[in-house]
Structures are given as structure tokens and as C-alpha cells.
């Protein structure tokens, strides 16, 4: 859910460019310039990965790239900090399970 009106911030999105990316095979709309995690959150997705040992659901924690709670597989690359990585048109984003495999 997005905030429409704010007493302090100007959240007018008329000038923003809409893009589309894929999450678990589903198309999701986002605004250019926002991060993957932000776009997923706006679409109501809070679980971003499963923890490496017990596979417990994990979502954001710090949202500024300090912790590793938002690691996801993006275009085949694991352990991408989705809270500081901008979403791009056509990106393929998947939930990460475990520690992430090395890509050739």
C-alpha cells in the first residue's frame, strides 16, 4: 500500500515512470528509482527469504544495507541486498532459501 497524501512530503507520483518486474513468476508494478524491497513491500510482500538454517520466513530489518535480512535471488544472482538495489524493468526476483548458490 502506498501513502497518497502526506502532511510534510510531496508524494505526487504523476511524473514517476512505472515499470514491471517479476516476483515468483508474477508480474509486479513498481516505480523507477525505488528499491526491489520497497517495490515488493508496496505490493504487500513481506517475506523475502527463508533463513539459512531453519528456513524461517525473513523480511526487511534495517532497509539500508547493513543486515542481510533482505537477501534475494535477482536475475539468478543470490545474496542481493534488495533494500539498496534499484528495481529494473524486467528483473526476475526470487525468494532466497539457504545461503545462496555460487553462480557460474
Amino acid at each position: 500500500m502506498r501513502i497518497e497524501n502526506h502532511p510534510i512530503l510531496d508524494l505526487d507520483r504523476d511524473e514517476e515512470k512505472e515499470i514491471t518486474f517479476t516476483y515468483k513468476g508474477k508480474e509486479i508494478k513498481a516505480y523507477e528509482g525505488e528499491t526491489i524491497a520497497a517495490a515488493l513491500y508496496a505490493a504487500g510482500i513481506r517475506v523475502l527469504k527463508a533463513s539459512s538454517k531453519y528456513e524461517r520466513p525473513r523480511g526487511l530489518f534495517c532497509a539500508i544495507g547493513n543486515c542481510s535480512s533482505c537477501h534475494m535471488v535477482v536475475d539468478g544472482i543470490p545474496n542481493v541486498k534488495t533494500c539498496i538495489t534499484k528495481v529494473k524493468e524486467g528483473m526476475v526476483v526470487e525468494e532466497e532459501v539457504g545461503k545462496g548458490d555460487i553462480v557460474d
Binding site: 497524501n5 502526506h6 502532511p7 510534510i8
Partner: protein, 161 residues
């Protein structure tokens, strides 16, 4: 107690109350800033030099009620949104407001006390939201005298259906 609840006690409030004679003379500012913090913009905001210059930036602001004209310039300058203006002649209270929707003149709003409880319905008589206030609106509401020292916030919306 203030440190536990965030609500100033009657003892805290005694420190800021101008006397009855002063209140009769017209509008006056009340600075509800009770503990030392490093902050001084209110001093710079007063066009009448009614707030003493801070010897130490942590000092509690000291307002000279005789010099204060109740112009309300300080209201939106306070980062703690802790300054109010009461006018016992016109029975009005001016307060800072940073929520949406900003009410309009003539609107009926709830007056809330320092604990956020609805205590009295009030009519909005003035709204100042100039660019220099940078989105802190100053809303003036009309209230019976006995509520001027009690109401410190408003709830907008519900009463205008």
C-alpha cells in the same frame, strides 16, 4: 509524572502560567518546554525579543510575558511543537498542526487534552499555513475559557461528516 507518561503535571504547568492580570491583557505564548535540551530556535523567532537569549543552548526558554504580544511567530519555529498561544479575551487557542487534513476556518474539530482524550468540541477560527512555516500549520480554535489551559491538540474530520 512527565518522565514516565509524557504528560506534563500541574506542577510542571505552574512554571509557565502567566498571571491573571497578564491573561486579561490579550494573547500570550505558553512554552511547554520543561526539561533542558539543546535547542534555541524560539529565541530567534521572536520579533519582540520576549524570549531571553540562551546563555547555554540547553537552557529552558524564558519568556517575558509582559513583552510577549502573543503574535504566535514562535509556534511553528519550535522543533518540539511545544508552543501555544492563548487569548483569554477572544477565548482562543493557537496550536501547531502537522497532520492531514489541515482544517479550514469554520470547521468543527475535537479539542484533545494532553493525554489525547477528546474533551471539548471547538470551532476553527483561523488557519495559518504560510510557506515560511514549512508545513507546520498554526490552527486557532475557539474554546470556553476553562478549556484554554487543557486542550493541546485537535482531531479533525469526524465532526464535519
Amino acid at each position: 509524572m512527565l518522565e514516565k507518561t509524557g504528560i506534563p503535571t500541574s506542577d510542571d504547568l505552574k512554571a509557565i502560567k502567566p498571571d491573571k492580570e497578564r491573561l486579561k491583557k490579550g494573547p500570550v505564548a505558553l512554552i511547554e518546554c520543561f526539561r533542558k535540551i539543546p535547542c534555541d530556535p524560539c529565541f530567534y523567532s521572536c520579533p519582540f525579543d520576549a524570549i531571553d537569549e540562551f546563555k547555554d543552548i540547553n537552557d529552558i526558554p524564558n519568556l517575558d510575558y509582559e513583552t510577549c504580544t502573543g503574535c504566535g511567530n514562535c509556534i511553528a519555529s519550535c522543533p518540539g511543537l511545544a508552543i501555544f498561544v492563548v487569548d483569554y479575551n477572544k477565548n482562543t487557542l493557537s496550536l501547531p498542526y502537522e497532520f492531514l487534513p489541515v482544517p479550514e476556518k469554520g470547521d468543527l474539530v475535537w479539542g484533545l487534552n494532553r493525554a489525547g482524550k477528546k474533551v471539548k468540541k471547538a470551532e476553527v477560527v483561523r488557519v495559518k499555513d504560510p510557506a515560511k512555516n514549512d508545513k507546520t500549520a498554526v490552527v486557532t480554535i475557539k474554546l470556553p475559557k476553562e478549556y484554554l489551559m487543557e486542550v493541546r491538540n485537535i482531531e479533525v474530520g469526524e465532526l464535519n461528516g
